[in-house]
């Protein structure tokens, strides 16, 4: 009696393991298979594509144009239908999405390699650097620090990453082309502005050895100013760095910028 119970349990285990990770609905065997997946970031302003040096209007009769637009993405995770989570290897799981690196269509590619083959239904990532990664210090960062600094994503007066960089000028009813610098980040454990973004995919993305699927993510950067909370440049949001009141508001707004537009199952 006991033995049969155990045997049954073991069999159940085996069948669960084999179902969960190896096969998709069609019974295709994906064991050990990995593939490439591209996250395509596409910055826009409302229903327009984002273009450097172009003036965009926002609330409060204010407008802005940018000559620098980048942000840090980290901790990319994918979830398949049964709920298995694939996490990209921690040391490599941090990227700078820089509009200046975009192709002619203004798309910036984040290429994920050796992703476990599966049919994924959602993607999540964080904007910025989370507390766990920061607490590692230099450990596991390789040359990311130099890279971040070359990209202007590390402060020189405080030891922390800038999670976003929106640099340019703004105008209002009373001011014309004044400097605009929206930087935002965490400061040690005192100020945590890391935010996680979870996006459900409109249809599954099929990662396979022989294919190169893409998740096309649109980032509406106007949400940074007019997202969950509308902010005014004239009220001090023209210069945002480590201010304890302003930065969490921007962080929450930025969290709402992202949307999956479509999937290419190439």
């Amino acid at each position: 009696m006991k033995i049969t119970k155990i045997a049954f349990a073991i069999m159940l285990c085996i069948s669960m393991i084999s179902c969960a990770s190896d096969d998709d609905a069609s019974g295709e065997d994906l064991t050990g298979q990995t593939g490439e997946l591209i996250l395509k970031f596409d910055n826009g302003v409302g229903d327009q594509d984002f273009i450097f040096g172009t003036t965009y209007s926002k609330s409060n009769n204010e407008s802005y144009k940018l000559d620098n637009l980048k942000y840090i993405i980290s901790n990319v995770q994918l979830t398949d239908d049964p709920g298995n989570v694939f996490t990209y290897p921690t040391a490599d799981n941090v990227f700078i999405v820089d509009e200046a690196n975009g192709n002619n269509a203004g798309e910036i590619y984040v290429v994920l390699e050796n992703v476990t083959a599966a049919d994924y239904v959602s993607v999540s990532f964080g904007v910025g650097i989370d507390q766990d990664r920061f607490a590692l210090g230099a450990d596991g960062q390789g040359d990311f620090l130099e890279y971040a600094q070359d990209q202007g994503m590390f402060w020189s007066w405080a030891s922390g990453y800038k999670f976003i960089r929106f640099d340019g000028t703004f105008s209002s009813d009373t001011m014309t082309d004044e400097p605009l610098n929206l930087h935002m980040g965490s400061v040690g454990t005192s100020l945590d502005n890391y935010r996680a973004v979870n996006l459900t995919l409109p249809n599954t993305v099929r990662v396979r050895e022989a294919s190169q699927p893409e998740i096309h993510i649109v980032a509406d950067i106007s949400q940074a100013f007019d997202g969950e909370t509308s902010v005014n440049f004239m009220d001090g949001y023209d210069q945002v760095h480590t201010d304890a009141n302003e930065t969490p508001i921007i962080a929450n707004n930025v969290m709402g910028m992202f949307e999956v537009h479509h999937i290419h199952n190439n």
Partner: protein
């Protein structure tokens, strides 16, 4: 468990020694001193265990001018060992091109026991702290990728990084880890006072030093707490604001009005040799510091409430003997072994 991993580790080292001869990687463990009278260590040594080779590399880097844009300003330029690694005789430090900074250089000692760095706490991980002086235009005026390129072109560093790190790579991760290893070893815990509290070598304090200790505990230890002599908080002790600098301290970080003119409560270890004092180095003697506390600070709007006296001024009333004895006590915090320790000196 520890023993097992050690065994496995040493087996590894043994079996790998053939291939490792190529880049010479060695990992000779070094122990960071954990004095029994200190509060808990803060640095996570598991992420960056100190080795003899990493420590030696860190020391080379600490004394290396190439970390600056003119190849002349090393960390040690502003952090001199004989003065507990402070910038001797400078109220404010100056760096490349004669640029003058805004603050008095802090001692580098017991960094492993600190969770935040700089007068305002702008650095919150020891590994990242060096990026501030390296990139500050007033200090070393460099960028990390240039520093790394300079080191890559140096055969000596190719060898040293190969010895200190398994992947042997010259990159910012390994450079910063080596600097942290060097600084983590810089523990100052063998002053006369330390030996007295730990009951070592029959060391006794004199009567005036004992009076000083008692007076210190009554008047100063609320902020200069524990045997590190800091409670790690940021406070405003009533220094008048220097309009030339208008240094708002911790306020600069979060723009929180409660933080106006607050600075980190400094450790008082080796205080005898770290003059001049305060964040801007305005006092050159301990007598001047104690007279400042006694005569009272300036009400700059945000002075620590614990300093409020009955007559409405901010300060700590001290008799001449109290001042004299406190200074005698503070002088027992000088750790000559540390100040002369060959392990930390350039030559």
């Amino acid at each position: 468990m520890k023993k097992v991993t050690l065994l496995v580790l040493s087996l590894c080292v043994f079996s790998c020694s053939k291939t490792d001869e190529i880049n010479g990687y060695q990992a000779t463990p070094l122990e960071v001193v954990i004095p029994e009278n200190f509060p808990q260590i803060q640095y996570n040594l598991d992420n960056n265990p100190v080795t003899q080779e990493g420590f030696e590399l860190g020391k080379l880097l600490f004394y290396e001018g190439k970390l600056s844009s003119n190849d002349a300003i090393s960390c040690a330029f502003c952090h001199e060992q004989a003065f507990a690694f402070t910038h001797h005789g400078h109220t404010l430090s100056h760096g490349v091109n004669g640029g003058v900074g805004f603050r008095n250089a802090q001692p580098i000692q017991n960094m492993a026991y600190q969770m935040e760095f700089m007068w305002d706490g702008a650095a919150s991980h020891l590994d990242f702290q060096p990026i501030i002086p390296i990139t500050s235009e007033l200090e070393m005026g460099e960028i990390l990728s240039n520093v790394i390129n300079k080191l890559k072109n140096d055969a000596g560093y190719q060898y040293q990084f190969g010895r200190a790190f398994e992947n042997g790579e010259i990159n910012s991760e390994n450079m910063l880890k080596a600097l942290s290893q060097f600084m983590n070893m810089m523990v100052s815990s063998n002053s006369k006072y330390d030996k007295y509290v730990r009951g070592e070598d029959n060391v006794q304090l004199s009567n005036i030093e004992l009076d000083g200790l008692a007076n210190f505990e009554t008047n100063c230890a609320s902020c200069h707490a524990t045997d590190l002599f800091t409670d790690h908080t940021y406070r405003n002790n009533g220094l008048s604001v220097n309009p030339m600098l208008d240094d708002k301290g911790r306020y600069n970080l979060f723009e929180n009005p409660d933080d106006l003119y607050k600075f980190r409560v400094p450790s008082l270890r080796n205080i005898e040799v770290t003059y001049p004092y305060m964040h801007d180095g305005r006092f050159s003697t301990l007598e001047a510091v104690l007279e400042f506390y006694n005569s009272g600070g300036t009400d700059n709007g945000n002075v620590d409430p614990s300093l409020l006296r009955e007559n409405g001024t901010y300060g700590i009333t001290l008799s001449n003997y109290e001042k004299e004895s406190i200074i005698a006590f503070l002088n027992t915090l000088t750790d000559h072994e540390f100040l002369q320790d060959d392990r930390f000196s350039e030559f």
